[in-house]
């Protein structure tokens, strides 16, 4: 387990570095970052000033290491638009995104795992078909469109929930549903197929041959093994949800980090964009790392090596 953890940490660090280099190099896609930052109407003098201010006149690798060194300490420079430290902006917005992410995750798991279990226990039954329909429809539903239709329905036609803003808990209801529903099909399918697999496995047959009650077979022998891949997926999906929050927060005007990212992109505020992108990536890397550790701990083949 120790060796495994050490290896996994090393991998996470390597991935973080590679990702940071990619994020950094994004700015150079346009050829000249100073021109991109200055905007279309900037004069030559403006561009020169920006070039000097941001250190674009230095060699690229020097710029990268400076930026990375800052990033590791939580120092991402100043937002071009707000004229404020980027890190303060993000920290101010992050609670909204995290609240949304956690709510949506709870919503998704609470909906999908029981459905997936029921569907696997009674394959081809009515409940299985209903769950499958829900999954198929959910996968095909563009989240931003679903969000807009919910706004039409619950904010205008039957006005019981606010359409935009982030002031009260009511503001989080619709975004939670949209974002959670987006992750539900994947969870449900994985729970269903995982459990179906496990239920037809030899060791579940052994457990049944021992005369254990169906509930005991399900909860002790089957679910424990079927849930392992769901744990990994939950980490991955939480990362996806953060990205999905860009769209959801934009539609519902929730002032979270995703909304900040979109605002910054449309305002060419690249230091902020880079910071959000890097933080989201690192967050995802940490999540998958933790999920792998949890997985290893759940699986005796890795734990008791």
């Amino acid at each position: 387990m120790l060796v495994y953890t050490a290896k996994r940490i090393l991998l996470a660090i390597l991935v973080s570095l590679t990702v940071s280099a990619l994020v950094f190099s994004l700015l150079y896609l346009s050829g000249d970052p100073a021109t991109a930052l200055a905007g279309e109407r900037a004069s030559q003098a403006d561009i020169m000033a920006i070039r000097a201010a941001y250190g674009f006149d230095q060699p690229v690798y020097v710029q990268y290491f400076k930026w990375l060194a800052g990033a590791v300490q939580g120092e991402f420079g100043e937002s071009v638009y707000f004229r404020l430290p980027v890190i303060d902006l993000i920290l101010e917005r992050l609670p909204v995104t995290m609240t949304l992410g956690v709510c949506a995750m709870i919503f998704a798991l609470a909906l999908s795992i029981p459905l997936g279990v029921l569907a696997a226990m009674y394959p081809n039954s009515l409940i299985d078909r209903a769950a499958l329909l829900l999954a198929v429809v959910g996968q095909a539903m563009p989240s931003f469109w679903f969000a807009l239709m919910l706004i039409v329905l619950f904010a205008y036609w039957v006005p019981i929930l606010p359409a935009s803003g982030s002031d009260s808990w009511q503001h989080f209801v619709l975004p939670t549903i949209v974002l959670g529903y987006y992750a539900t099909p994947a969870f449900m399918r994985l729970t269903r197929t995982g459990l179906l697999d496990v239920l037809s496995s030899d060791y579940v047959r052994t457990a049944r041959a021992k005369g254990l009650r169906p509930a005991k077979v399900l909860f002790k022998h089957a679910l424990r093994n079927a849930i392992i891949p769901v744990v990994s997926l939950a980490a991955v999906q939480f990362g996806f949800m953060l990205t999905g929050s860009i769209i959801i927060e934009t539609v519902f005007a929730l002032h979270g980090a995703g909304f900040l990212a979109w605002e910054s992109i449309s305002r060419s505020d690249f230091p902020t964009v880079q910071a959000v992108l890097l933080l989201f990536s690192w967050f995802y890397i940490i999540l998958t790392f933790l999920a792998d550790l949890l997985n290893a701990w759940l699986n005796p083949r890795i734990r008791v090596a």
Partner: protein, 341 residues
Amino acid sequence: MTPTIKVENLRVSIPLAAGVLHAVRGISFEVAKGETLCLVGESGCGKSLTSLALMDLLPSRAKREADRIELDGADLLKLGERDMAKVRGSTMAMIFQEPMTSLNPAYTIGNQLEEGIRLHKGVSASEARERAVYLLEKVGITGASSRLGQYPHQLSGGLRQRVMIAMALMCGPDLLICDEPTTALDVTIQAQILHLLKDLQREFDMAVILITHDLGIVARVADRVAVMYAGEIIESGDVDEIFSRPTHPYTQGLMNCIPVPGKTAYGERLGTIPGIVPSMIGEMTGCAFANRCAYAEDICLKTLTTRELVPNHAVRCVRAEEVAALNAGLDTATASAGSPA
């Protein structure tokens, strides 16, 4: 004496896209206390499904029907899922083919050994543990008490199968069903496990149903044999009788596939059975083996009966007597000629 298990007209069918697969078509047998019945047949003949049907552990889409399944005189067909679960693992236990995958990777050996007896007999944790250690030693595992804390992946295949056997014996079952218990193991381990099973059977005085495709195993452990082909028992009887006078053409074919030391000449071609097993999808009239049988006549495609030629030797073949007679003649002919025809 009432047999431990008595099965009459057991049928198993599985609906598939291409039609209904009749995997087991009306088989009957019984096994008494202390007796070993071997179900022999090639893969796909329905022998494993038969064992699962007895335990009521068939895959959910497979359908089980029977006139009677009695264990210790009690009708299993009448039991609900809940009562059936009480029988499973306590009076009737099963050992599976794949020791590598038959144990749950997430729990320790001890945990998995003890949960059955704690449920069925309501014994305390320490009693269950004592019994587990006792049985692990019985099945020849050294350092039994330290093994209890180990996980399945830490044991070899042979050890795991021993654990499976110990697990099956935890509640002292009357009937032990072994589905190809040695197929997945090395040959040397196979012999050990078979000896072990035989010894344990004698010690605990159980009825054993052993399912195998290996006639060598049959010869070694069986009291009685039932040969299965395409979902039917086509010949059954005492092991000596079957081995010395195989009557059904399929059984004869099987026997011809094994070399016999001292009898099979060096370089001689072993027998094969030409043709392949018919599709078992849909209804079938007459003998399933007719399309491969050297003795087949028109009548074989129309009717089919099982008859006892001599006591304790039943053959499912309409031309059984003629085949037996022909065969006796053939045997003397080949014996006098000194070489196979």
